[in-house]
Symmetry: C2
Subunit: 429 residues, 2 copies
Amino acid sequence: MDDLVRTSAVEAAARLARRELSAERYVRAHLERIEEREPQVRAFVHIDAAGVLSAARALDGGPVRGLLHGLPIGVKDIFDTFDMPTQGGCLIYSGHQPAIDAACVALSRRAGALVLGKTVTAELATFAPNETRNPLDPAHTPGGSSSGSAAAVADGMLPLATGTQTWGSIIRPASFCGVVGFKPTYNLIPKKGVWNSADSLDTVGVFGRSVADAALFVAGMLDFRDLLVPGAPAVPRIGICRTLQWERAAAETKTALENASGKLAAAGAVVQDIALPGQYADLLRAQTTVALWETGHSYADECFRNSARLRKALFERCLEGYRIDPAEYQRAIALGRQCRAMLPDAFAGCDVLLAPAAAGEAPRGLDWTGDPLFNQVWTFLHTPCVAIPASHGPNGLPIGLQVVGRLDDDARTLHAAHWIERVLCDRAA
Amino acid sequence: MDDLVRTSAVEAAARLARRELSAERYVRAHLERIEEREPQVRAFVHIDAAGVLSAARALDGGPVRGLLHGLPIGVKDIFDTFDMPTQGGCLIYSGHQPAIDAACVALSRRAGALVLGKTVTAELATFAPNETRNPLDPAHTPGGSSSGSAAAVADGMLPLATGTQTWGSIIRPASFCGVVGFKPTYNLIPKKGVWNSADSLDTVGVFGRSVADAALFVAGMLDFRDLLVPGAPAVPRIGICRTLQWERAAAETKTALENASGKLAAAGAVVQDIALPGQYADLLRAQTTVALWETGHSYADECFRNSARLRKALFERCLEGYRIDPAEYQRAIALGRQCRAMLPDAFAGCDVLLAPAAAGEAPRGLDWTGDPLFNQVWTFLHTPCVAIPASHGPNGLPIGLQVVGRLDDDARTLHAAHWIERVLCDRAA
């Protein structure tokens, strides 16, 4: 494997900006990696090798564009791209070609990013998986719905890729593939041109192989330089949050969190146990109600006029959501709102919380993307979340933890996650 | 004028459901009204007379579909429609034909609504007006950005139409045209297929000529029957809210609110004055920051790759938003969040607040859609708002007030608005 495909995005960006590395050379390394590995991993639904090389040469011949100058990115196939089809993993949209880039894609290109290809999504960013396999073991799911993005970044086919989370579609595949996933505060990354699933939950985020890389991607996209991780981040106050789903975590996940707590305290962090307020007990169910009701209504035209090209499982799930009493939906929304307002107290003086990113390792099989139960509540609360690979399970696959930040506190969340990653992950030291 | 085009949607729907009125007859009455008035009003960008008549005949020959059976609706031209172009009042999207309906359009059709045409929007649902005139006086703006929807409903060209509000694009044109505008709680009506402008603010809503009609539209669309106004609504507790922009209200607006307060108390309502918390003082500025930052980022591809087909004023406004410090944007978002959490206290025991819907009458001229300053704060707070025509100004044009409800309390808000409308508006008695 070419070392370039394991170079961090931060390091590559620095070399690209200094013109020590050409964008063409860097892109070629990734195209070679894709050629070698894509038949097994199947992370992409569309690759534009000629187009990205041409764009890379144009960058090499012009001024440095921005923080993402020369970095190839993968774009989940529910983000509109003016120069590539956007098909949403769904037959209804087969061959669909948008005229305009999704806002965050256009912003990334403006900062110098090169869109290398579109990555596989579960059908319409829901639960019905498509063809991607976990690059660490092809018999296991990569998670979903941002399956291709997580797998491609994990496998060195790309340094960075975009994703969305409505249930657990960024943090869970990041955890299963052993990469960093960053779900910012709800609505921080603009959603224009990113296909809606459930408006109150849909959040755009990114994948990278380190916190610093993920932070660079969003910092470049939004020109939000406060997000960049500092060389010497402040030592964070960390709340260990076992969540109200703790009994459903695998033993290895419990061990990972307990071990992390000890390591972080030993490294100098103030670490305390955090119990979530009692009102949070119904949040998991409420998020499910909101996700189902909103998704069922969002896909009205897909279900009512185009159901022949929708998988039966998704069609039936939409009908289930469509049948939920709207008054029950509004009560669920109101509970989310109430619990969100309680977050400042729930953090109990901590900068961030540390919680499981998934129940355990990536499950075996490709017909299920795994359970989002450790993601749903945080998605509903709109908090920034950063998945970090923390250990390994009995199958040798990654166990992730997630750093959960305060609302609108994305910079501090990333900086704390970077500090935590350095303590927990040898590879990031 | 055919009386049918002044019949309420509630009355028409009842007659359509009883088969006393055919959908074809009802649609034809509106097409005739459009033929007569559209050259002056210019509310539509696309009308499909043959298509809607054919769909009406199909309805007449089949079972009653839902609450909206046989009602023709107008759809703002930023809502995708599978059978009509969606062009957003913007040259970039000239001729654009979506493949799939916006969710709320599909849901409306499923409930029996007939999409008669696409209504004029200001460019990309922002501030740059297009060709629509105020049907009450063509020298005056109808307001915007949902200009065509408000004007068409006011003029009897349609009983119902859709709109969106990011600054004040439903409540303000409703006030200027003398119709009812209903902006539900943020995200209640699904946004899929409705073009994004600013994610944290964009809210889908509707226009009708009475609260009962507007409520019927959303109740039918979402199959949310609790929204339908009851025959004998409870007497509401009403807070008179002069807002922190009171000194910028025209004298006639101030008088309208003061008079309303007296009439409502005389009719038996508990009426009290409400002062908004001091923290709300910066909300108007914060909403502006959020709207500009998010809009500037949403339209990245329009600005960076397609600016030749964007009006200069919008391009420059986007650049202005694009240049705002993201940390300042996040502080503005955080203030909105904090003030939203304070709303239960701000309501001080009232069911709804009553506030100005606009500074005054529709301004003269067609180059400006009027100031959204009495709408921005409520849009940011995500509250349900119902504009009601309450009186007239010195030019004989309408003065609107708005009923503001608690979050997620849309049914009670509509019921209270219906009670208030009956007291304030003779025509609705």
